[in-house]
């Protein structure tokens, strides 16, 4: 480290100590973002210097950026000085009993068939210390540990596997990547770290569900998953239950690294609070997810079901570096009421004979606005690359919208690309036909929507697919009639 950097560090250290002491009482900082806040977060977590340094570089870079405006989403400007950056782990107010929880939320839980105990946890009601899932998680962790699989919170990983983390952090999504990813790099609160060593097939689906308490990491999560040579892991993100959330902005970063012959399957069922029918409240979900197929014959597969959030801005992508590597993106995105979703993927083909598959199913209802935005880039080096894209939109009613914005860049003539796109509507004729067979209007719509999403649901782990289906049904309630 150069001497000038050391000076900064010293200075930083002093500044941070002051900040720390004043804030330790309340355990939160006042809204606002500054270098002090970044130092405070890092210090509070007891992070090593290299990480603080990384955060600070991200912060300084962020100051030079402006929010992107190209997405088809509209929202009032976000006041970044009005957000508390040390509210993570989230300061959810503990409630004493379910009676204090919003009844509408409970109704939704009931419909989803979530057991009472879990309902309590999800709603932030204090639960007894002995909770089944916790011990289950511990048992799993032990078993994983024996196989050399690391599955821990990000903060824990910083302490226990610092060097490993440092080797990969920011190598897929650099801190300079984009406005929201850069902000995340500066202030990320927590998240998950997964490492599957060479030749190990992770024997179970890794799910944040098992760490539901820890998973309350607030707005700026950071996830890093590394699969070494020949390793395999399937990761399920988020809990499938709807979460009310007071926070507005959610800017997460997910990085995946697959080495030779490794495979990572990443599934998300996202159901953040979408705001009410008038479009009040709800989450702005601005997420950067990217996977690097670094090794030959490696494979990364993204599957997402997006039913929540007021605004979704999300493009899980694959960089197909290794020869014969494979990228997949399966997506169902729903926008009802005033929800806006601008989502899609990027498939960057660099290696020889790389192939990618994109299946996107967009559903718009109410005043929902939905944009599929996808990029397929075949670099000069990507001899014999292939892509298949299928992009379907389903409209319910006359007031919603769907757009498809595919970008294709081909620099190698041997590439083979296929693109299919359809837009359809649930017609009055279809609805009447189904009802004439005895189905209630809502059941008819659910049946048609499920049929529409089948190709994507098939990619989800079994239990997840069932819950995703239920979520869609709940989310579409009142979309007809």
């Amino acid at each position: 480290m150069s001497s000038s950097a050391e000076t900064i560090q010293d200075f930083a250290g002093r500044r941070y100590q002051a900040g720390f002491i004043t804030d330790i009482e309340s355990d939160t900082v006042a809204p606002g973002l500054s270098e002090d806040v970044v130092r405070l977060i890092s210090a509070k977590k007891g992070e090593p210097e290299w990480l603080l340094d990384w955060r600070l570089r991200a912060y300084r870079h962020w100051l030079t950026l402006t929010p992107p405006t190209w997405a088809h989403v509209h929202h009032p400007p976000i006041d970044y000085q009005d957000i508390s950056y040390y509210s993570a782990p989230k300061q959810k107010q503990k409630l004493e009993s379910l009676d204090e929880v919003d009844p509408e939320l409970l109704r939704t839980y009931e419909k989803l068939g979530i057991p009472l105990l879990e309902q309590k946890m999800l709603a932030g009601v204090a639960v007894d210390a002995v909770f089944d899932s916790v011990s289950v998680a511990t048992t799993f962790k032990k078993k994983l540990g024996e196989m050399g699989v690391i599955f821990s919170s990000f903060s824990e990983a910083v302490k226990e596997h610092g060097e490993l983390l440092r080797k990969y952090l920011g190598t897929v999504v650099p801190y300079t990547d984009n406005y929201y990813a850069t902000l995340n790099s500066a202030v990320f609160s927590d998240g998950s770290f997964v490492f599957v060593p060479k030749g190990v097939r992770c024997p179970m689906e890794l799910s944040t569900y098992f760490r539901i308490n820890e998973a309350r990491t607030g707005q700026f999560e950071r996830t890093l998953i590394v699969a070494e040579e020949g390793a395999y892991v399937s990761y399920l993100e988020g809990c499938t239950a709807p979460q009310r959330d007071e926070n507005q902005l959610h800017a997460a970063v997910v990085e995946l690294v697959a080495l030779d012959d490794a495979e990572i399957k990443y599934s998300t069922v996202q159901n953040w609070y979408p705001g009410d029918e008038e479009g009040k409240g709800g989450i702005y979900n601005f997420v950067t997810k990217r996977g690097a197929c670094r090794g030959d014959r490696s494979k990364i597969s993204w599957t997402q079901v997006e039913t929540g959030s007021a605004i979704t801005w999300k493009y899980p992508s694959c960089i197909l570096q290794g020869d014969d590597s494979v990228g997949e993106f399966y997506s169902v995105a729903l926008s009802n009421h005033r929800q806006q979703a601008d989502t899609g993927t990027k498939m960057i083909h660099l290696g020889k004979r790389t192939s990618s598959t994109i299946v996107s199913k967009g559903i718009s209802a109410g005043h929902g606005v939905q944009t599929y935005r996808g990029l397929v880039r075949i670099a000069k080096s990507a001899e014999g690359a292939r892509n298949y894209t299928q992009c379907d939109s389903l409209l319910l009613g006359d007031r919603c919208k769907a757009d498809t914005v595919p970008y294709i860049e081909v620099q190698n003539a041997t590439a083979r690309l296929e693109h299919e796109a359809t837009t359809s509507k649930i017609s009055d004729d279809q609805l009447f036909y189904c009802m004439q067979r005895g189905l209630a209007a809502e059941d008819a719509v659910n049946l048609i929507v499920n049929g529409f999403c089948k190709r994507v649901f098939r990619e989800l782990p079994m239990e997840f697919a069932v819950e995703a289906q239920k979520l869609l049904e709940v989310s579409l309630e009142g979309a007809v009639g």
């Binding site: 359809s424 017609s427 009055d428 004729d429 279809q430 009447f432 036909y433 189904c434 009802m435 004439q436 067979r437 005895g438 189905l439 209630a440 209007a441 059941d443 049946l447 048609i448 499920n450 049929g451 529409f452 089948k454």
Partner: protein, 250 residues
């Protein structure tokens, strides 16, 4: 079981049914014939509750209930089935999934237990054979990419599955080849059980050779112009509709 009394109905501003009266006993099979545009399909839609068809006068009682007060899906569950003149495609939804949902919705409403996957498949296979439908076709997405004749056959499969009290067949014979006509007619005949009533809308005597009706009604300009036995259909085949139209206009 079905009593239609002085039924007037319109689509938008156009009156189409103009005082239609018709009664159907349990087990009765009545043919409805009549020129193009006379209101046959309109009658089938009004009875099944299609939105956009407005009843301005008259009553319809079905099994003692006020049919017109019920929603389309309630009517279906109460036992009214319409085999569409133009069956609708429902892409993405397999015939089996669709029918299982429909059958169980109807069974539930009728106080019968829902069928589990095994019971359903057994019923499905029985009925599929009854209407002579290929295995592959029967498992495809509802009417999706079906030929005209295949769609019609699928309607009869659905009817067999749903076990309605009243089946309205709107030109089920049109678009069927000779063998299919025979197979479908046999399927329909097998569902004649002395209880189930049927309204068979057709233009052609040849269907009535297979599905022999108890009564024949001729619909002209939104009204029943004549009612008779099966010989009336033969008379129409010979004389056409002009004489009835003239009578109706007089």
């Amino acid at each position: 079981m079905l009593e239609i009394d002085n039924l007037h109905a319109r689509v938008g501003d156009t009156p189409i049914l103009k005082g239609l009266t018709l009664t159907l006993r349990p087990g009765e099979v009545a043919a409805i014939m009549g020129p193009n545009g006379s209101g046959k399909s309109t009658l089938s839609y009004v009875l099944s509750g299609r939105p956009g068809y407005e009843v301005t006068e008259g009553t319809v009682r079905f099994d003692g209930q006020d049919l017109l007060a019920m929603e389309a899906d309630e009517r279906a569950r109460a036992g009214v089935f319409l085999a569409f003149q133009y069956p609708v495609e429902v892409p993405g939804v397999s015939n089996k999934v669709f029918l299982k949902a429909a059958v169980n919705a109807c069974r539930k409403a009728r106080g019968q237990g829902e069928l589990d996957a095994y019971e359903f498949l057994k019923l499905f296979e029985d009925k599929r054979k009854l209407v002579g439908m290929g295995k592959e076709l029967a498992s495809r997405e509802v009417n999706s990419g079906f030929s005209g004749g295949e769609k019609k056959r699928n309607e009869i499969l659905q009817m067999a599955m749903l076990d309605p009290k009243l089946a309205i067949l709107d030109e089920t014979d049109s678009g069927l080849d000779i063998d299919a006509l025979k197979a479908v007619s046999e399927g329909v005949n097998a569902l004649r059980d002395g209880e189930r009533a049927m309204l068979v809308i057709t233009h052609y005597q040849r269907l009535l050779d297979h599905i022999v009706p108890d009564t024949v009604h001729v619909l002209v300009d939104g009204r029943i112009a004549r009612t008779g036995g099966r010989e009336l259909a033969l008379e129409l085949e010979e004389r056409g509709y002009d004489w009835l139209k003239a009578e109706a206009a007089a």
